[in-house]
Symmetry: C2
Subunit: 464 residues, 2 copies
């Protein structure tokens, strides 16, 4: 939790941006696993965390803009709670720590809302991603459940995104910590991988590396020797001599800030020559992104620059042919790089994705494309100093996709399918880091990570 003045000034700014009515921000409840009392680890709604700081279930924050009042609604601990849970700071005390004087029992929320309705105040709320929170809103505001995600306040959502997009120094400090825990997860995996190991054995070690810092994983870890399968959550494969592991994982600090990195590394400690060759092209793409990423350019531009490096490299290797600009323009390279270059990161690993990808990653000047590949780019808009985002190019040989395109004769003038065939057993590679946009360019967060293949091999050299 930050100093209370941070929360006070965040709410003040939000009041100015929204300008009228009353703002309702719903905190998360516990999510039951297999019965009500056995819940997943609690994850607070990131917007609630941002403006109200308290990391406990069943709280609702209210900012009455017009009457300049702020509340947190919840349920205070009873003496019985204390007996089972030990001495606790009261919620009243904890609310005061984030600058809220009015901690009020939940039942009173309806009264406050009734008054606002009588005065015809606008009640602003955000769109919801958990059905129980939609239900709360539908009950509080007498909406049909299906209407909640239609009637949300676009002004409120825009204001929140505008503020959360720009990371302050004290947030960057936390994101840097999250990146360093993430780094340690990757280095732990690299230093322990060996043939015969199961994916989940490696995951066990890297999750423990996060937990040592009281961090969890910011999303479901991808740890696979089939990197070409993009949505791959399976950890049951046994690593073999010659395999390359693709590891995409990140830490989520107790305070919510997230890291996200991808590395690839050879199970046996050394890349073979073909792996080295494609990996080098991947890092050329990454370096090009790093070179282009700065305020004033769009991330879509950076993405396309990276695609040109890919197209050029594929032509050089005889896998593609023709003109680089034409290839990238028509999207033929996306056979090998079907996803986007990156996404915003902050209190969510895809920061604020609950508000809709396009609301975070696009604006009136940069619209989302529909072309295969480019349509998967989450972050397209112009970069500004203070943004934190990932750079994560990939090169994949996806047999099912290659087969489909080949059958359709798709982009035959640019793709040398005979040559592609030789890579059907290759798999896929991705490399990812987290970057802050600075005044003049960018800065990769965290301590130095191995990147070039010799740096990777150096880390693995004592494994066997």
């Amino acid at each position: 939790m930050f100093d209370k003045n941070i929360y006070i000034s965040r709410r003040k700014k939000l009041k100015e941006l929204v300008g009228d009515g009353l703002i309702l921000i719903i905190g998360n409840s516990e999510s039951p696993m297999s019965y009500a009392d056995n819940a997943y680890n609690f994850i607070q709604d990131s917007t609630f965390l941002y403006y109200f700081g308290l990391n406990s279930p069943d709280l609702i924050g209210v900012i009455d803009v017009e009457n300049d009042k702020e509340y947190i609604f919840g349920k205070e601990f009873t003496i019985d709670d204390i007996i089972w849970m030990g001495q606790q700071k009261t919620f009243k005390e904890r609310a005061a720590e984030v600058g809220i004087e009015k901690f009020v029992e939940s039942e009173k929320l309806e009264e406050v809302l009734e008054k606002a309705k009588l005065k015809k105040q606008i009640i602003h709320f955000t769109n919801q991603y958990r059905i129980e929170n939609s239900l709360k809103i539908s009950k509080l505001l007498d909406f049909n459940l299906d209407d909640v995600n239609k009637k949300f306040s676009k002004k409120l959502v825009a204001g929140i995104i505008e503020m959360r997009n720009l990371k302050k120094d004290y947030e960057i400090t936390e994101l840097e910590k999250a990146t360093n825990v993430t780094r340690e997860m990757h280095l732990t995996a690299m230093k322990n991988v060996k043939p015969g190991m199961k994916g989940y054995e490696l995951v066990a070690l890297l999750e423990a590396a996060a937990k040592k810092y009281n961090a969890t994983t910011s999303f479901h870890t991808i740890c696979t020797t089939n990197g070409q399968i993009l949505h791959n959550h399976f950890h049951g494969n046994t690593f073999k001599e010659g395999d390359v592991v693709l590891l995409d994982c990140g830490a989520r600090l107790e305070n919510g800030y997230c890291g996200d990195m991808t590395t690839v590394f050879p199970v046996s400690g050394k890349f073979d020559s073909r792996q080295k060759d494609i990996y080098s092209l991947l890092i050329e793409m990454f370096d090009r992104a790093e070179e282009c990423t700065k305020p004033g350019v769009t991330n879509k531009f950076v993405h396309l620059e990276v695609c040109k490096v890919l197209a050029k490299g594929m032509i050089k290797r005889g896998i593609m042919k023709g003109n680089i600009d034409e290839i990238v323009n028509i999207g033929a390279h996306a056979l090998f790089f079907p996803h986007g270059l990156g996404h915003m990161i902050g209190l969510d690993v895809h920061d604020m994705e609950n508000f809709g990808e396009n609301n975070v990653g696009y604006d009136e000047f940069t619209k989302r494309e529909t072309q295969f590949g480019l349509k998967s780019l989450r972050m397209g808009k112009e970069l500004k100093a203070g943004y934190v985002l990932t750079i994560e190019p990939g090169i994949y040989f996806i047999p099912e996709l290659i087969e489909r395109w080949k059958k359709e004769g798709k982009f035959e003038e640019y793709i040398n399918y005979e040559e592609v065939k030789k890579y059907l057993d290759f798999g896929g590679m991705r490399y990812e880091g987290d970057f802050l946009i600075t005044e003049n360019g960018n800065r990769r967060l965290g301590d130095k990570m191995p990147k070039y293949f010799n740096e990777i091999e150096e880390i693995l050299k004592n494994n066997n």
Copy 2:
């Protein structure tokens, strides 16, 4: 997943028990953390897993009892899915592996239900613990959301509990595996604890021990030096010389079967004499439970026998006074043991608790008590061969509870508050194992666990 004949015969038995209408069993969906695409690890509904075996989200099982038809409804993979997720067995193939020939697209479910409604078939469903599943039922059957958990089928729930209560050999094999992974989590913690360590550092190691077997934790681990705080999920304390760690954790195998154990062990490797003294009484309680636990007695009886051992031990130590039977009858001992002796365990760590504790742990012959302490006993009813349950006595000195009772003058004739005062800094201890009820008695599941204080100290002897 078991052999398909197991699922076929389970459904056959359930059909016989329910006898009419159509049975609707809702599988779980993904639970989002902070936006829709970032979900917690998927946990399938245990009843769906029991009858339909498939561990994937968004499936619904239907058993049409009257027309002897069985279906799984869901969404088959598309070619696009295969491109992003790799080659997959189709749901049709996977359904066939659990003996279901009819894997049908979800949209058709309404048709099947409409037909049943026209024929005035009863549609049986269970009460729900996830709001999204209640919503599904409310939409499918045109109920008010609030009515779903009122209009559920008591006959169906009773049939499921009757079947799942009695564990078959192939389930006991899995529960034994879960217990052994749980055992390894505990031994790992014991062998690595030392002064200066943070709680979460120990949790990191024991969760990795589970993950090595592709298992997760079956509930939120309790790992604390404040064992007297019963609902204690905080892992941030630093272990000190002289502290005793209370560790309550368990493994959940990938197939759903759970383990659950509690141990206590001294941070510095040796219990002090007072810790040894109270720990010895705790193990007397545990041993008494083990002695009494057999078919034909109620678990309430076993609980009360254990309470007598506690009362006797407390009298011997000058902490309580008076007649043992009176103490236990009036519940004065519950100051030191305010929870129940144990609970059923299976595919849920509190098995089937989603159906209501009383429906699983009590019956027409054994009703739940309201007395403090006894009211927290989850499992009270008569034991039968095939039940698997935990035995977990505890001894706690809870300052807030002691203070409250003392102020009220509660049970002054049985409690020597002056003597209790000396233990206000003691904390709390619990010891827990998982037991199968056999034809003649019981069997503790898993390989031998250290229990007596010298066995515990033996495990820790090389820690420093």
